[in-house]
């Protein structure tokens, strides 16, 4: 009887969460889309409906395509590196060795450093004159002249990727390590009895068992990397010549620096759509993987 009553008003229970979602997610989304259909320059008293013309401009905007390409490259390379390195480090840390707790803590360190601080740190590491990286490379004889890590059109994006990998690889380690701890010990004992090699054990026992953890890591990191802003912005500001400008940085410039609210909103909407599509695709893959298991 009681149970029945509560079932009569399910809406009541969803309402707080629902209204919060409407307020913080749906409302800004709708207004952003509406804004993207307008020319809004409040300072110049320009406010008019322009339909989809911002989207046409965007399609013909080489800077948009470059920022999209930069973002895609950044995401692909950094996520791949973070997850493979993270997997390796997690496997190492899963072994039993002295002071394991301490080492685990140390490995996770970069993740606890605020991104802006980490980026500033790397800015110094990359400094052509005073940076430790060039000093080491020169000393070891690998290079003969100082490299301009943050001012070279092709080096710079890679420099940003390295900084990001350093910063977020521990996150991958954390998730994968958690996955590793769920592998039952019986399985390992059984493989040992059957005389399997370490490589065989990894491919047939460990990896299949932790695939869900790895996949989750990939999803998290991909969605994070697609909207990357802070690490790149602090390190390079998008330069040189926009070779490190990501979608988020371009959006920020339009909306908050040059105050082109309408055009900036159009870019934000497109970025949102891209992330949405990628996220749906990844979720589909995730479901495939877990179904196989």
């Amino acid at each position: 009887m009681r149970q029945r009553q509560s079932n009569d008003h399910p809406v009541l229970f969803v309402l707080p969460a629902l209204s919060l979602m409407l307020l913080v997610a749906v409302y800004p989304l709708v207004t952003t889309f509406w804004l993207s259909l307008r020319d809004e320059f409040p300072i110049f008293h320009i406010s008019r409906f322009v339909g989809l013309s911002h989207y046409v401009t965007l399609w013909n905007d080489p800077r948009f395509w470059q920022s999209l390409a930069n973002t895609a490259y950044f995401t692909t390379v950094s996520v791949f590196a973070e997850v493979t390195l993270g997997l390796g480090v997690a496997l190492l840390l899963h072994q039993t060795f002295p002071a394991r707790g301490l080492i685990r803590g140390l490995v996770l360190m970069p993740w606890f450093i605020p991104t802006v601080v980490a980026a500033r740190l790397w800015e110094w590491i990359y400094h052509p004159h005073f940076g430790v990286l060039n000093a080491l490379l020169l000393y070891s004889g690998l290079i003969t002249t100082e490299l301009n890590w943050l001012g070279h059109p092709t080096l710079t994006l890679h420099a940003a990727i390295v900084a990001d990998v350093w910063k977020t690889m521990p996150f991958a380690v954390l998730l994968i390590l958690a996955g590793l701890q769920t592998v039952p010990d019986d399985l390992y004992r059984a493989t040992r009895v059957d005389g399997a090699t370490a490589v065989q054990t990894f491919w047939h026992i460990t990896l299949p068992w932790i695939i869900p953890a790895v996949s989750i890591t990939v999803v998290f990191r991909t969605l994070d990397a697609l909207r990357v802003f802070d690490v790149v912005y602090v390190l390079t500001g998008g330069g040189p010549a926009n070779t490190t400008e990501t979608l988020s940085i371009y959006t920020y410039r339009l909306s908050f620096q040059t105050l082109e609210f309408g055009y900036g909103a159009a870019l934000a909407v497109v970025t949102f759509m891209i992330i949405l599509v990628v996220s749906l695709f990844l979720q589909f893959l995730l479901r495939l993987v877990s179904a196989e298991r």
Partner: protein
């Protein structure tokens, strides 16, 4: 402190100051959000020279033309006054100014019997002679601001104008793809390909340039006047060995330093415009500017301060800098400057990193700038139909 003096002199006026974020971008955003919302919380505000046309056009600044006698205006350096003039009206009073100057290693030029360069080609030759003579791999020729940011626009303008180029002509036509502009930019890029400027110059801002020059690792440096005191401070490796001269020109045009600096304007919604004016008049007075120059090294906007014996004695660099700053010209005076600058920054960066030729980059810049200028025209026609 100047504000305390003002308080003492006007005990009836309650004066409150608000400290803004240090980054110029954030200050701009602060003003835009507040003024757009019709805030009258502040009466007087400090303006970066490049914001004035934008704020004037937006209707946020009080027209101060009637408050200033033309004769009183004659005491101001002309560049900053031009920069604060929009559609024939004056919207802010120049407070202190900044302009590009060329620093050089006096000891090194003397050693090779070279005079301070008056053209960019002379600078190139001088740098080559000294670099060859010194044969020091750590010594580079010329450092400047080449990072993708506002500083790059300032430097590029000095090259463009040295060869007779411009961003806009007097009647507002784009001049970027014209031969003089291209020639200037080509010279800027050539500095890097000819190894006069190091590759790191593409990430260099004012402070990085000052560090390189301050360590004695560059012969020339383009920077602002602030570096003078620091280069000659105790402990500086180049102390007493630095000279400063005007931004070079070319064989056909004299050098034009890019103008920077800050102005004081009055909020149009200020409930106390007369009191606000009193503060502006006080802070921009000869006496206040003299104190500011002596205590902080900021360069005055009043001619009378530069020639004042007392100020000259307190800051001997004043008469030294005066002829260098006098010719400074503002960046394009347009309400759309910030948008134009963002476009220019990325295209200029593409030129100096060698990603695009000067021609291609300026074609691209013009195409993007036209979209912004069209906004203005669209607005103009909209306004005329409304009437």
């Amino acid at each position: 402190m100047l504000l305390d003096q003002f308080r003492a002199a006007h005990p009836d006026i309650h004066l409150r100051e608000e400290v803004l974020p240090s980054s110029s971008d954030q200050q701009h955003l602060f003003y835009v959000t507040n003024l757009e919302a019709g805030s009258s919380d502040f009466d007087v505000f400090a303006l970066d020279v490049i914001w004035i046309p934008e704020f004037a056009r937006a209707g946020w600044l009080q027209d101060v033309t009637p408050r200033v006698e033309p004769a009183a205006l004659a005491d101001f350096v002309t560049g900053p006054v031009d920069a604060a003039t929009h559609a024939g009206r004056l919207y802010a009073i120049p407070w202190f100014l900044d302009a590009g100057v060329l620093y050089y290693r006096r000891d090194l030029l003397d050693k090779y019997a070279l005079a301070p360069p008056r053209t960019w080609s002379e600078l190139r030759n001088a740098a080559q002679i000294v670099m060859r003579g010194e044969a020091n791999p750590r010594l580079t020729g010329f450092v400047w601001q080449g990072k993708q940011y506002e500083g790059l626009v300032c430097v590029a303008l000095e090259f463009i104008r040295a060869y007779g180029g411009e961003v806009f002509s007097r009647d507002g036509e784009l001049q970027l793809a014209q031969p003089p502009t291209i020639a200037g930019l080509q010279h800027l890029r050539d500095l890097i390909t000819a190894h006069i400027s190091p590759p790191v110059v593409t990430t260099t801002d004012e402070e990085t340039a000052r560090h390189i020059f301050g360590r004695g690792e560059a012969i020339f440096m383009r920077n602002w006047p602030y570096a003078w005191r620091l280069l000659n401070a105790e402990g500086s490796r180049v102390r007493g060995r630095v000279g400063v001269t005007a931004i070079p020109g070319s064989d056909t045009h004299s050098g034009v330093p890019t103008l920077g600096g800050w102005h004081l304007g009055i909020n149009r919604l200020s409930p106390q415009p007369d009191l606000a004016w009193q503060l502006v008049a006080f802070l921009t007075s000869t006496e206040s500017q003299r104190q500011l120059a002596i205590t902080s090294g900021l360069k005055p906007t009043r001619l009378s301060v530069y020639t004042d014996p007392q100020a000259q004695q307190a800051d001997p660099s004043l008469p030294l800098f005066f002829p260098l700053l006098q010719r400074a010209q503002p960046r394009p005076v347009t309400p759309f400057y910030l948008m134009a600058s963002t476009i220019l920054q990325s295209e200029l960066s593409a030129i100096i990193t060698g990603l695009k030729s000067a021609e291609a980059a300026m074609d691209d810049a013009e195409r993007q700038l036209r979209r912004i200028l069209a906004l203005d025209r669209g607005e103009a026609s909209h306004a005329s139909t409304a009437k």
